[in-house]
């Protein structure tokens, strides 16, 4: 008999690339299981994992919510969610295996009895299904409820482990609403769960294209030599959504686009684009580089000129009449919440000095798109007539994160004909053309990583705190400044005029994604 750290599994071999890593025996508890995210993303992802043979034979799934459901009712909900949203085809055998481990615990967060019930439910699962005392708690609940739930878990003895067991807690954004609250949240959670067992889900980091940024940069010789301020003019990171905020007032009012998206997704993208090469792809090395680059990042001043914010008004968008934010149900008619936010960052390192990073996000914009565009400087000398290069723009490399995942390179090419005329063309790599039709959903990858205890795709507390340090000055400035008032923009456009002004002041302009 050997211990777990000395044991080398003889059936595993680094050269054996076919063997997937299957999660060990474990149970996943979802709080807030009746929510949209749980139905549309989490449950289908769990089924897809099972269907791909990546879940352990004795997997347990426990739902916790206020509804008065029996196990069967919950099973039916999962069944319907899987049928409707799963990526892989429905297989009765896989489902019946999975269904055997599905349980439901009815209760509220402040009720001790409910958590005692949860504890006995998990103990029963350990005995019947052999989940081995390994439990992950997915908190798909408002952050205000975190302290209650975390302390309840502690009180019910669900946070303590014995040898060879693990407990992990998964939390979702927002990770606070400013530096102070983020620190407080981290403290609350860390009081019960040590940092290495806290997994903060940023589903963008689970996307193939985002992980491909690392491959593109560090597996190729082609890009690294030009990946610096000698060649790069500026970087634009855009996450645009065409939907509005109907029905999300409770979450969004008072939070706004900047806290909701820039703090986590866009600053993480910035870190991946700007960071130095990690010494290895070990989670700690990767994180060290991300932390370094985030700590060198500052918002560019003066904020009147380098930032923009706006709120959408009603109008016609894509053939539909849509309401403005103030008319959406649940929002106060005086709401000052911004639905569009744009900021300018500078990265104070030798590599990036003088290269602005423009970050923007918004609701009800022209179309749904997330992309990172690295825009290069113009060639210092063009041996052509002015008329020949009139239509030549700047070279650009665009990582399309969603939809239509891929990479585009834009460069000049001669127009066929007997005169010399150069015009922009694109070279395109589409994931859908070159690889799998359906790559795993981000949540599939991330949930599996949680069960395997593989933390590299999850931001840690210092990354979260550094992001708030970057944003806090801007948020304070916006909060202080009454004039000019929050700008309005029409639904279906690319944001308020101030967004264009913030790039135009240095002679640049936003790409139309």
């Amino acid at each position: 008999m050997t211990t777990s750290d000395k044991w080398r599994n003889p059936l595993r071999d680094a050269r054996d690339k076919r063997l997937p890593r299957i999660a060990g025996p474990s149970a996943l508890v979802i709080f807030g299981v009746t929510g949209d995210l749980s139905r549309k993303k989490l449950m289908p992802a769990i089924y897809d994992l099972a269907n791909r043979g990546l879940l352990p034979p004795g997997f347990g799934l426990v739902g916790f919510a206020r509804r008065d459901w029996a196990d069967q009712d919950f099973m039916q909900v999962v069944h319907d969610a899987v049928k409707e949203h799963a990526r892989t085809p429905f297989n009765e055998h896989v489902w019946s295996q999975l269904a055997e481990g599905i349980r439901f615990v009815q209760g509220t967060f402040d009720d001790d009895q409910s958590f005692d019930n949860l504890a006995s439910c998990l103990a029963a699962l350990d005995a019947e299904r052999g989940t081995g005392g390994n439990h992950a708690f997915y908190l798909s609940i408002p952050p205000g409820a975190f302290p209650t739930v975390v302390n309840q878990l502690k009180r019910a003895g669900l946070a303590q482990t014995q040898a060879d067991q693990w407990r992990r807690v998964v939390i979702e954004k927002p990770f606070g609403h400013d530096l102070k609250s983020a620190k407080e949240l981290n403290r609350t959670v860390n009081e019960v769960f040590p940092e290495e067992s806290v997994f903060r889900i940023d589903h963008y980091l689970g996307k193939e294209t985002v992980q491909n940024i690392l491959a593109l940069r560090f597996a190729n010789q082609l890009y690294e030599p030009i990946w610096n301020s000698n060649y790069v003019d500026h970087v634009q990171i855009t996450m645009a959504e065409d939907i509005g905020l109907g029905g999300r007032a409770g979450y969004y009012d008072g939070i706004g686009a900047t806290r909701d998206v820039i703090q986590n997704h866009l600053l993480q993208l910035l870190a991946l684009i700007a960071m130095e090469e990690p010494v290895s792809f070990k989670p700690s090395d990767l994180r060290a580089e991300k932390v370094k680059i985030l700590s060198a990042t500052r918002p560019a001043q003066p904020f009147e000129e380098t930032t923009a914010r706006g709120q959408y008004t009603g109008g016609w968008q894509g053939g539909q009449k849509v309401p403005g934010l103030l008319e959406e149900g649940g929002f106060s008619p005086e709401s000052k919440t911004e639905t569009f936010g744009a900021i300018t960052c500078e990265v104070n390192t030798r590599r990036w000095a003088g290269v602005p990073f423009y970050l923007r996000t918004g609701k009800r914009l022209g179309r749904r798109v997330t992309e990172v565009a690295v825009v290069f400087k113009r060639a210092p000398h063009l041996p052509f007539d002015d008329t020949a290069t009139e239509e030549l723009g700047q070279n650009a490399l665009v990582v399309r994160v969603q939809p239509d995942e891929g990479v585009t390179i834009r460069f000049g090419s001669k127009v066929p004909g007997n005169t010399m005329e150069v015009r922009d063309v694109t070279m395109d790599f589409g994931y859908g053309h070159s690889f799998t039709e359906s790559s795993p959903e981000a949540y599939e990858r991330l949930l599996l990583d949680v069960l395997l205890g593989e933390p590299s795709l999850f931001p840690k507390n210092d990354e979260v705190e550094l992001s708030w340090e970057i944003l806090d000055p801007i948020l304070d400035f916006w909060a202080r400044k009454d004039e000019p008032a929050l700008e309005k923009y029409k639904a279906g456009t690319w944001g308020p005029p101030s967004a264009d002004a913030m790039t135009a002041r240095t002679g640049r302009h936003w790409r139309r994604p």
Binding site: S4, P10, L11, R18, P57, N91
Partner: protein, 337 residues
């Protein structure tokens, strides 16, 4: 769209492909590999093309089918191009070769290979004795055979072993992945004890069963026994003995397995037999030599064969003439693990 080019040459095929691309958009852009399927001309060719089309949804490729027709006929090349809805995410070129040309498949394949991308050769039915020395096999980085689809699967596996070259692989090995993953995962958990013996039970003519036993003896460095099953399909049972009790994975019905370990409740596992489509997609996922497969092949001779399964669930009654019994079952069962 299906375009027939009777009695043609490869340069005519090529210019037709270029024209199709001009007219129809992005065919052949973003193709990641060329898959060459070698068959005898007949009905089964279409089944192989269908599997390739399905796999192409994961790996967009150009599929070249070399269908060898009657050797006595006059030499002739008939081609068929399939694109769009008739070709999945790939473009399929079917080459029907007659007469002397039937032996010269490589010369027709060469001009149609995509530039600078890997070439994979697949013999869905009968494979050459030494795939790496076959003219088409020599064009390819990776050569996929299927012992289970041959007339004598166990003999075919022996031939694979004798003529192995890096880049060879066999679907009998691919069919094992789920089993291997499940067994490896069971040893990730306590008790962390050395395995003392391995036993694998499966159909008499299931090459995957032999390979699994060989892999276990190679990795675990313990004796492995291979038993003939009296019921069930493909692989039926694996038992890994150790001091505190055996790990046992039993699949009586070809669909659902039961994993039992001492000290833990026995658990059911979905272990359905894999389709050729699945296996092919997995094969195309990696294009480097599979050293683990090579090591397993090498260990085939270390596996000792037994007649009756050790924990005999049913009375053992393997009919004496294994070959005849195998031929009967072949059509339905053994093509999956």
């Amino acid at each position: 769209m299906i375009i027939d080019l009777p009695s043609t040459t490869t340069s005519q095929i090529n210019s037709r492909l270029v024209r199709l691309r001009d007219e129809g958009g992005a065919t052949t852009l973003g193709r990641v590999l060329t898959l060459v399927i070698v068959t005898e001309d007949g009905q089964r060719t279409d089944a192989a093309i269908d599997a390739a089309n399905d796999a192409s949804r994961e790996h967009p490729c150009r599929v070249i089918v070399v269908a060898r027709g009657a050797r006595q006929a006059a030499p002739r090349l008939d081609a068929q191009i399939r694109v769009g809805g008739d070709a999945g995410a790939s473009e399929v070129v079917v080459l029907r070769l007659y007469g002397e040309l039937a032996k010269e498949g490589a010369s027709c394949v060469m001009p149609l290979l995509l530039p600078d991308t890997p070439v994979v050769a697949w013999w869905p039915f009968d494979a050459p004795v030494s795939p790496s020395k076959d003219p088409i096999g020599q064009l390819a980085q990776r050569r996929i055979t299927d012992a289970a689809a041959e007339k004598n699967p166990i003999k075919a596996l022996e031939a694979r072993k004798a003529h192995y070259a890096p880049g060879d692989t066999d679907l009998a090995w691919t069919r094992l992945t789920l089993w291997r993953a499940m067994l490896a995962a069971s040893l990730d958990l306590p008790p962390y004890e050395k395995i003392t013996e391995a036993e694998v039970t499966g159909e008499a003519d299931s090459p995957s069963t032999d390979l699994l036993a060989a892999w276990l003896t190679d990795r675990l460095k313990v004796p492995a026994k291979r038993y003939k099953a009296t019921s069930g399909e493909g692989i039926v049972q694996v038992r890994l003995d150790r001091a505190s009790g055996a790990v046992d994975l039993h699949r009586p019905d070809g669909k659902v397995g039961t994993l039992s370990q001492p000290g833990q409740p026995s658990r059911r596992v979905a272990l359905q037999r894999r389709s050729v489509r699945d296996c092919l997609a997995e094969e195309l996922r990696r294009l480097d030599p599979d050293e683990v497969y090579a090591a397993a092949l090498k260990s085939l001779s270390k596996v000792s064969k037994g007649r009756a399964p050790a924990p005999a669930p049913e009375p053992a009654a393997e009919s004496g003439n294994g070959k005849a019994a195998a031929a009967v079952k072949k059509s339905k069962a053994k093509a999956s693990s």
